[in-house]
């Protein structure tokens, strides 16, 4: 696979070293899956060479939602309220369409209190990378089940979850999201490729990242623990990423690899496993997802991609200039227009 990585310590295409992509020290528990995801976000944005000034971060409330303080310290960020982050992100990204949105949420934040805003965000196709840091519990309030907890999974205290889990990937696909993937905080290589794919995608990119809560949901009997997930993970394919600025030709002699072109010219490569799988087939993706969840495995990879959909700012026919930056004369109609309106009211 091609290497898209600047030499360690070296400046990337934006002229920045990896330091410029870090944030404040994490205050999460040692070993928390969320920190592993933060690390991958730092690397992905650094390696991609995205200018942090173009990124805005959003989150809700929860341990996961704290993490935007721990990466991309040179980007603006907004730690909003519980379960309602998507609306804030929507408003901000409509206000300034030049910004690249990066959202982090938890499974309580997204699938419990926030499922309504999640559904509508997916429908709107806002230009946003949406990372769900999924541990099946409410970490910050000390370990109650969230709506992604698997049936039969046990709490540390002992109670078992009896309700079916919400599969946010299935919902995202059902609702028309154009980039839907699942990964695992303990699988940095795959996560990195999927994150970069999300960066290259236009419109909403949703990644459900299983991210163990080492304090409240990493015990025997949990279906979201590191050991359980490591054992149950099943790769849909081997995901690689080739950035637009490294357009090396790759020879997939054996025909086992499929390339997916992204909006900005980067490419995702899906190799080896399940090479028959077609991630542009929505129905097939849903079927695959359901089959795996019913089979008790935990499938990761890029489930669905569809790059052609206009994003929300396009649907709104927005001016190219950010709405937030329009000068007074662009937002206050003329005296003539005013006069015409008054005439109708006389």
């Amino acid at each position: 696979m091609a290497s898209d990585k600047p030499r360690p310590g070296a400046p990337n295409r934006a002229g920045l070293t990896i330091e410029a992509y870090k944030g404040r020290p994490s205050t999460l528990c040692n070993g928390c899956g969320h920190d592993a995801i933060s690390n991958q976000l730092v690397r992905a944005f650094y390696e991609y060479g995205i200018d942090p000034a173009e990124v805005v971060k959003f989150s809700g409330i929860g341990c996961s939602s704290k993490t935007p303080a721990y990466f991309l310290g040179r980007s603006f960020g907004f730690n909003t309220i519980h379960g309602r982050m998507p609306s804030v992100a929507t408003g901000a990204l409509v206000a300034n369409r030049r910004l690249k949105g990066l959202a982090v949420s938890g499974d309580g934040d997204t699938a419990s209190i926030g499922i309504g805003q999640f559904v509508h965000a997916m429908r709107r196709n806002i230009p946003l990378i949406y990372i769900l840091e999924n541990n099946g519990v409410y970490g910050l309030t000390k370990g109650q089940f969230s709506a992604t907890a698997d049936r039969g999974s046990r709490l540390k205290g002992g109670g078992a979850n009896e309700l079916p889990p919400v599969d946010c990937c299935a919902l995202a696909i059902e609702l028309g999201c154009g980039y839907v993937a699942r990964s695992f905080a303990g699988d940095p290589k795959q996560l990195s490729a999927l994150l970069k794919g999300a960066i290259g995608h236009r419109g909403t990119a949703f990644i459900d990242v299983l991210s163990p809560c080492v304090t409240f949901n990493n015990h025997e009997g949990s279906t979201k623990s590191y050991p359980y997930l490591k054992g149950a993970e099943e790769w849909l394919h081997d995901v690689g990423f080739i950035p637009y600025f490294e357009q090396i030709a790759v020879d997939y002699a054996d025909g086992t690899t499929r390339e997916i072109a992204l909006h900005d010219g980067s490419r995702l490569t899906l190799g080896k496993l399940e090479r028959e799988y077609d991630p542009t087939d929505r129905l097939g993706a849903l079927a695959k997802l359901r089959a795996s969840s019913e089979g008790g495995t935990f499938l990761t990879g890029l489930f669905y991609i569809h790059g052609g959909k206009p994003d929300f700012t396009e649907l709104l026919d927005l001016d190219d200039e950010p709405l937030s930056a329009l000068p007074p004369e662009r937002v206050r109609p003329s005296r003539g227009a005013f006069e015409r309106i008054l005439a109708r009211l006389r």
């Binding site: 804030v88 408003g91 901000a92 206000a95 309504g116 937002v331 109609p333």
Partner: protein
């Protein structure tokens, strides 16, 4: 009424009476009523109209009350001088509601002719006349309404040219509709001419009193204000009576804020999935530097509580219009009220106090819609505009608005790249000049010091998370100071005859119309002089407390059950609390002057009796 009856005894009652039209909703009477209103307006006579409609799409009783008032009184007039009865379901009640000496103009088929011998009764076969105009079943029902307009045109001496013009304006580019309506109008007019002998005293005479004025609803005026105030993002969820604000804004924006060349919009109007999301989008947009607003009504306000607190605490500009309806809960969604004041002032858990603007007229809706953005951006906080159904959805005569050159777009303390210059560090919540307002940067600013992390949790001046008691206390103290500091920049109260005396009256919002008229009545009919103060914003300032102190008894007039403005004045001005008395009206129908004057007189009499 008393005045009117007086003049009635002496002959004609000119340009001073009320007309109430009783129809069924969904039957198309709205355009007929609008035409009637506009024709009178164009005759130069001040007029106002109040639509009393059900929360229902079609088939239930609805009333339209027009008031003609040479003195320009726009409040609802108690008593019906001229009743027009078209609705079989409410016919009897409608007929009985006409004031003695008044007029009942009724559909003949209702057989109301014999019901009252103390009113002037005219029966007209509206439906049959409409049938003569068209064969189309659906249209007949609509046109019956124009028939009564025709009859009234004749009975009240409305200038036919103005009705004609009003019809053409009502159906622009719809020649067919104009034609049919003109014919229905004529059918009514000529029927009246031929069959009705005028016995009543009510008449219109042309004046020039509406020159330089327009006829507009508060929601339309607010929408215009928002557009001319530079609104770029509006997110909302439909709810009566705020819907027409957003729908009009959408119409104006599409017409005037779309680039004719590129067809690109300098605005985004988003129908959100609910009110939580609506305000969430506004907060996101305001944070990112857009002038963003939403409009809603009671239930939406409740749903916006959490985001309001975030915006207050994280200091994000947001403009909210609360077009109030009668609560609590679903309440009466199509009836007016001023019942959300306390909710809005303190919206959200924790210590909050929001800036509220209190428009009383369409002119103020237009103005305040612009100022709200300036204030929200200048003080980096939510600004809630408290309109109501009566102000927002009914048509009012207003002074023509001036082009808003005098209200420049004040974007507040925003630091762009050059402003940051060589700064190594930028502290988002640092009060650099002591007014409690900290300069902010906007996402997209590429200066390396510009970015910061916004949150609804405790933070220090550098926007870093902090649980230190001192950081929290200082932050909260600064927020209180900031809002207090905003008071001189808010629309000041309007004071009339405020030099002092035994009796003062305080009103706010749409209650103004009736309160003003009540003052005239108290003076003219009862010799009671009153000082008057109308609040136009909260928190209240020095002018207000001084006014309260200058009057022994202050009547706070408002349209809610609990005296919510009085409560706020008691909180803010404890030393004056004991002077305040509530004059309340709260049944969904706009308050009238008589009931205000009556309550005040009763209190005053009680005071004498009980030595209060």
């Amino acid at each position: 009424m008393e005045q009117t009856s007086n003049s009635r005894n002496t002959g004609s009652v000119i340009n001073d009476f009320s007309i109430q039209i009783a129809t069924v909703n969904g039957s198309g009477s709205q355009s007929a009523n609008a035409i009637l209103m506009r024709a009178i307006f164009r005759m130069g006579i001040p007029v106002s109209g109040k639509n009393i409609f059900p929360s229902n799409i079609s088939g239930l009783p609805t009333w339209y009350a027009i008031r003609v008032s040479e003195r320009g009184y726009a409040a609802r007039k108690a008593g019906i001088d001229i009743g027009v009865a078209l609705n079989p379901h409410s016919a009897r009640e409608d007929a009985l509601a006409v004031s003695p000496g008044g007029v009942l103009l009724a559909e003949s088929a209702l057989g109301l002719g014999k019901l009252r011998d103390d009113v002037h009764c005219y029966e007209v076969p509206f439906s049959r006349l409409a049938e003569e105009v068209t064969d189309n079943f659906r249209l007949r029902r609509l046109l019956a309404n124009m028939v009564y307009v025709g009859a009234l045109t004749r009975l009240l001496s409305i200038d036919p040219a103005e009705v004609d013009a009003a019809i053409r304006r009502q159906f622009p580019d719809k020649a067919g509709a104009v034609e049919l309506n003109l014919r229905a109008l004529e059918a009514g007019r000529s029927h009246a001419e031929r069959h009705l002998e005028k016995t009543d005293p009510f008449r219109l005479e042309p004046r020039t009193l509406t020159r330089g004025r327009i006829l507009i609803d508060g929601n339309g005026a607010a929408a215009l204000g928002a557009m001319f105030g530079g609104c770029t993002v509006a997110s909302w969820y439909p709810i009566t009576p705020s819907t027409s604000l957003m729908e009009q804004l959408q119409g104006f924006m599409r017409e005037f804020r779309t680039d004719p060349r590129t067809l690109k919009a300098s605005f985004a109007i988003i129908q959100a999935e609910d009110e939580l999301a609506a305000l969430g989008m506004v907060v996101g947009a305001g944070w990112a530097g857009a002038r963003a607003m939403t409009a809603t009504s009671g239930p939406g306000i409740s749903l916006m509580a959490e985001f309001s607190g975030l915006a207050y605490f994280a200091e994000i500009p947001a403009v909210v219009w609360d077009v109030q309806r009668l609560g609590p809960s679903t309440g009466l969604p199509t009836r007016t009220s001023q019942g959300d004041l306390l909710s809005c002032y303190f919206l959200s858990h924790g210590d909050t106090r929001h800036i509220l603007l209190l428009p009383a007229t369409p002119g103020e809706c237009f103005d305040f819609a612009q100022q709200a953005f300036n204030l929200a951006e200048r003080f980096q906080t939510p600004v809630i505009c408290m309109s109501d159904l009566d102000l927002g959805m009914n048509d009012w005569v207003a002074e023509e608005f001036p082009y808003p050159d005098h209200i420049p777009l004040d974007r507040g303390k925003v630091l762009r790249e050059p402003d940051l210059g060589a700064m190594a560090d930028f502290a988002r919540y640092l009060d650099t000049d002591g007014d409690g307002v900290c300069p902010r940067t906007l996402p997209g600013n590429r200066h390396p010091a510009a970015p910061y992390f916004t949150r609804g949790s405790g933070h220090n001046p550098k926007a870093e998370y902090s649980e230190r008691p001192g950081d929290y206390a200082r932050l909260m103290e600064r927020l209180a100071r900031k809002i207090r500091g905003a008071v001189p920049s808010l629309p000041p109260p309007v004071i009339a005859d405020g030099a002092g005396g035994p009796v003062g009256i305080v009103a706010w919002g749409s209650t103004h119309a009736a309160a003003q008229e009540a003052r005239d009545r108290l003076r003219e009919e009862h010799g009671l002089e009153t000082g008057y103060l109308r609040l136009r914003s909260l928190p209240p300032g020095e002018d207000t407390v001084r006014f309260l102190e200058r009057h022994e008894r202050v009547y706070v007039v408002e349209q809610n059950r609990d005296g919510q403005m009085r409560a706020i004045l008691q909180i803010e001005f404890p030393a004056a609390a004991a002077r305040l008395r509530s004059v309340l009206h709260c049944d969904g129908i706009p308050v009238d002057a008589g009931s205000i004057a009556g309550s005040i007189l009763e209190w005053e009499r009680k005071g004498e009796d009980h030595g209060e």
